[in-house]
């Protein structure tokens, strides 16, 4: 990746007006697909992503079932109209890989031993894509899993950090992803303090690497607060504290 223009101006502002420590606007709505057991819609910058969970349910075909735990299946898919040039609806190699890392990012949070011989299906549909759609997808999927009432050790929050104009910045957008220096998506369980997804493309010095990871984790913590708020809003309305009766 070679950079052709400055993506951070003299005031430290990025192409979309953010500072280097700022997230794009994030909105999450829980319970948006009526037929699903759990669902969430996330707007993460210009990403618009729908996540739906079905399960635990019976496994078809039956021989796919595991005797001691639940099968987790994930599909990340982009709608044909989600990208600048129309995307062929058939799954690409990129989507197949993201489906896999997404499943592996979610799996550590789920107590799959509680549902032997069953399956949980997670469908992530990108309706409009922007940079960081896998992180936004994981974030939405995790909320949808909690909405489905599946036993979880923690919520998974995801956010990327990266390098732009040789500076480490939070939450890479589309332009920065395409023109910037490095992109590091991270998924993280905030209570358990564990990283469940991490990828990197681009070159970072050892110092930048560690700064980038720290920044991504910080971003995940911010994303987590938004996830928590969205779930609380759906289940408890505006009452964030249960009134203690005396």
């Amino acid at each position: 990746m070679t950079q052709t223009r400055n993506l951070i101006d003299e005031n430290g502002k990025r192409t979309d007006g953010r500072t280097i420590d700022e997230l794009r606007p994030v909105k999450i709505k829980v319970g948006v697909v009526k037929n699903a057991d759990g669902s969430a819609f996330i707007e993460f910058g210009r990403n618009k992503i729908l996540a739906a969970v079905y399960g635990p349910r019976e496994v078809h075909p039956k021989h796919m079932a595991l005797p001691d735990r639940c099968v987790l299946r994930c599909r990340y898919h982009m709608s044909p109209f989600s990208t600048d040039t129309r995307k062929n609806p058939a799954p690409s190699r990129r989507e197949i890989e993201i489906s896999k890392v997404m499943r592996e990012a979610l799996e550590p949070a789920l107590i799959l031993e509680d549902y032997p011989r069953a399956a949980i299906d997670v469908f992530v549909e990108v309706l409009q894509s922007d940079g960081g759609s896998r992180c936004a997808g994981i974030t939405a999927a995790s909320v949808a899993l909690a909405d489905a009432g599946i036993n979880m050790r923690d919520i998974v929050a995801a956010c990327a950090a990266g390098k732009v104009d040789d500076k480490v910045v939070l939450d890479i957008n589309d332009t920065e992803d395409k023109e910037g220096g490095a992109d590091m998506p991270v998924a993280y369980m905030p209570h358990l303090d564990q990283v469940t997804l991490m990828q990197l493309d681009g070159v970072l010095t050892p110092e930048q690497f560690s700064e980038c990871l720290d920044k991504a984790i910080k971003g995940c913590r911010m994303v987590y607060e938004i996830q928590k708020q969205a779930l609380m809003q759906k289940y408890f309305g505006n009452e964030l504290e249960l009134k203690e009766e005396q």
Binding site: V33, K34, N35, A36, S39, R46, K48, L50, A51, A52, Y54, R57, H60, R75, H77, S79, P80, F81, S82, T83, D84, T85, R86, P89, D121, F123, E125, L127, Q128, S129
Partner: protein, 275 residues
């Protein structure tokens, strides 16, 4: 190979009994009359990356359609016309009965029936979408994703396509030095008519429009009829294993004209087309 099989949804006998009780009082389980549609909601321009988009809710059935415009070669035999391609996919998010993977025959039928209604009505004046006759034309893709399935995917998808097209702005392409360039300007989509489909199902002796998933699971036969703005018929598809009498078909055709006019007015109102 197409083979007969049981519907994915098994309607409880208790529900069927209630459906029959309601039908005997000329009502349906959700309180509608036989000829009544579920509430229609249309939200436009939800996908900024598309040249036009719409999210349509017909009761609990929800469909998103996005228009993408590119250039390409014309179809064979249609050298002086732009290309229009309508596709539809029932996303696995939409219902517990959808499996991810290549489309099954019902989804293929859905895409083709919706495409036929739009194409045969000549909704878009494709002759206006030619850059170099016989060589380079506009290719208009309308892709639909069903995100919640509760029956009558045909009409919901068709209304989504129509709404997305009515509200779309096409990019202006030009030929410069033998190459296609996007001028960055946009133009109105050349609309000639507004096709509206209406789907009805027969359950026993009665014919109901806009069936829910539960009603479809009990249906004997289905018919989808598309009319244009002049009230002419432009496409039709009979589906499912049962049959219709001539009289039932004539009544369904008449309903598609009368109801179709109401729905057309509603779509024009909700999309603000022509304003």
């Amino acid at each position: 190979m197409s083979s007969s099989r049981r519907s994915a949804i098994i309607v409880e006998h208790l529900r069927k009994q209630q459906m029959w009780d309601a039908i005997s009082k000329s009502k349906r389980l959700d309180g509608r009359d036989f000829g009544e549609l579920r509430p229609l909601e249309i939200e436009l321009d939800i996908i900024k990356k598309a040249n036009g988009s719409a999210r349509v809710k017909l009761g609990d059935t929800e469909v998103i359609a996005g228009v993408k415009v590119e250039t390409g070669e014309p179809f064979e035999g249609l050298e002086n016309k732009g290309a229009l391609i309508v596709s539809a996919e029932v996303l696995p998010v939409a219902s517990p009965h959808v499996e991810p993977g290549p489309p099954d025959e019902e989804t293929v039928e859905l895409a083709r029936v919706v495409d036929r209604g739009i194409r045969e009505s000549e909704m878009i004046d494709l002759e206006k979408l030619v850059l170099v006759p016989g060589k380079v034309v506009y290719t208009v893709f309308v892709d639909c994703s069903v995100i919640n399935a509760d029956g009558n995917l045909f009409d919901a998808t068709s209304y989504a396509v129509v709404s997305a097209l009515l509200s779309s702005k096409l990019p202006v392409f030009e030929m410069q030095d033998g190459k296609v360039t996007d001028t960055g300007r946009t133009q109105e989509t050349p609309i000639t008519t507004i096709p509206v489909s209406l789907t009805a199902v027969r359950i026993g002796d009665v014919v109901l429009v806009d069936p829910t998933a539960e009603e479809e699971a009990c249906m004997d036969a289905r018919i989808t009829i598309t009319t244009n703005s002049k009230g002419e018929f432009c496409a039709l598809q009979k589906g499912h294993t049962g049959s219709f009498t001539i009289d039932q078909i004539k009544k369904a055709a008449e309903a598609s004209r009368v109801k179709g006019e109401e729905i057309r007015a509603k779509i024009v109102e909700l999309t603000g087309y022509g304003k």
